[in-house]
Amino acid sequence: MFTLLCIILLSCGNNAQYAQGQELYTNRCASCHGIDGAGLGTLTPPIKASDYYLKYYKEVPSIILSGAKDTMLVNGQLYWDEMPGNHDFSATEIANIMNYINSKWYPDKSFLSPIDIKKSLGTYTPKDTTAVQKD
């Protein structure tokens, strides 16, 4: 009976498939991109339903790790604020975050392992930064 109770309690607190990714996303990404992944005005691009995410999917691990300083065109909107890097993240942590993001907003994407992430790191190239009025 006690074991059963323990199992029920544990499963209640930890029912997400990508619990570590969810925790990392909430603590390190959601403050700008939102728990809902919707971004913030023209300050922060959305993560959910983002054409940029799908188009440059291979480069996403590099952006999470090292950030991005150039202008991004996401769903037709330009974003020019710098994204800070998360230089302390391991490949496993990046995989956990991306698997969580995919499970939430891109269910068609297949599971990523830390090896997949390591292969993709360093592939990021600054995009064509068209002239944009910055403030």
Partner: protein, 224 residues
């Protein structure tokens, strides 16, 4: 030697059972009362926070600031409203975006409700001119008067920050030139602080919104 187990007469047994039942009923009642007493109810008033000054006054002093539409903002702007205040600057490279996201969640929650306003103080009077504050408003896709972005005379915002239990320090070594705390502070109709939350913890915002609702409800009750 064989000992026969003592048999409990039927009458005694049923009395025993009824005693147990009434005792457990009493216990259940006690637990229910205990839980309902411990549970923070919707009507529990929020505490009044802050330290009174030498005259025993508590709360935010009068101020005169300029918003993104070049309009003067004073205590009168927030008459009969509760408001959430924070401190930021538009070129802030660290926590301000997280604060803006948290404030934006609150803005969206109370969109169309004129009983709740937001007040973001720029701590960078040199760079954050009125047009720049306007641009920031546009980038967030929000509007005055529900969300006011204000600037003031040199030192005025820093002086006010203390009353909001916030810290603003000009520091050339800090990223962006300023060191500041990231609290969102809830102020009531009487200009007193009633709650605060770390604005960088977006997961704590629903709980903060619940506190705003409780404060609003307390004014609705008093007008009945």
């Amino acid at each position: 030697m064989y000992l026969c187990p003592p048999s409990i007469p039927d009458m005694k047994y049923s009395k025993f059972i009824s005693k147990i039942t009434s005792a457990s009923l009493l216990l259940a009642l006690f637990i229910a009362v205990f839980i309902s007493a411990c549970n923070p109810t919707q009507n529990a008033p929020l505490p009044i926070l802050g330290t009174p000054d030498a005259e025993g006054n508590i709360g935010i002093p009068d101020f005169q600031l300029i918003n993104q539409d070049s309009q003067v903002v004073t205590q009168a702007t927030f008459k009969n409203k509760v408001y959430v205040a924070d401190f930021f600057f538009t070129s802030c490279p660290t926590i301000c975006k997280a604060l803006a996201k948290s404030m934006h969640e609150i803005y969206q929650h109370y969109e169309g409700n004129d009983k709740v306003y937001l007040l973001s103080h720029s701590i960078d009077y040199r760079r954050d001119s009125v047009p720049r504050l306007k641009r920031y408003e546009q980038r967030l896709g929000v509007h005055a008067p529900n969300w006011q972005f204000v600037t003031g005379k040199p030192g005025e915002i820093q002086h006010l920050a203390k009353y909001y239990m916030s810290r603003v320090i000009e520091d050339t070594n800090a990223p962006g030139g300023y060191d500041h705390s990231g609290y969102l502070v809830l102020v009531d109709h009487e200009k007193r602080i009633r709650a605060y939350v770390n604005g960088t913890k977006i997961e704590d915002i629903p709980d903060f919104i619940e506190k705003i609702d409780r404060l609003l409800a307390s004014y609705e009750d008093s007008t009945k």
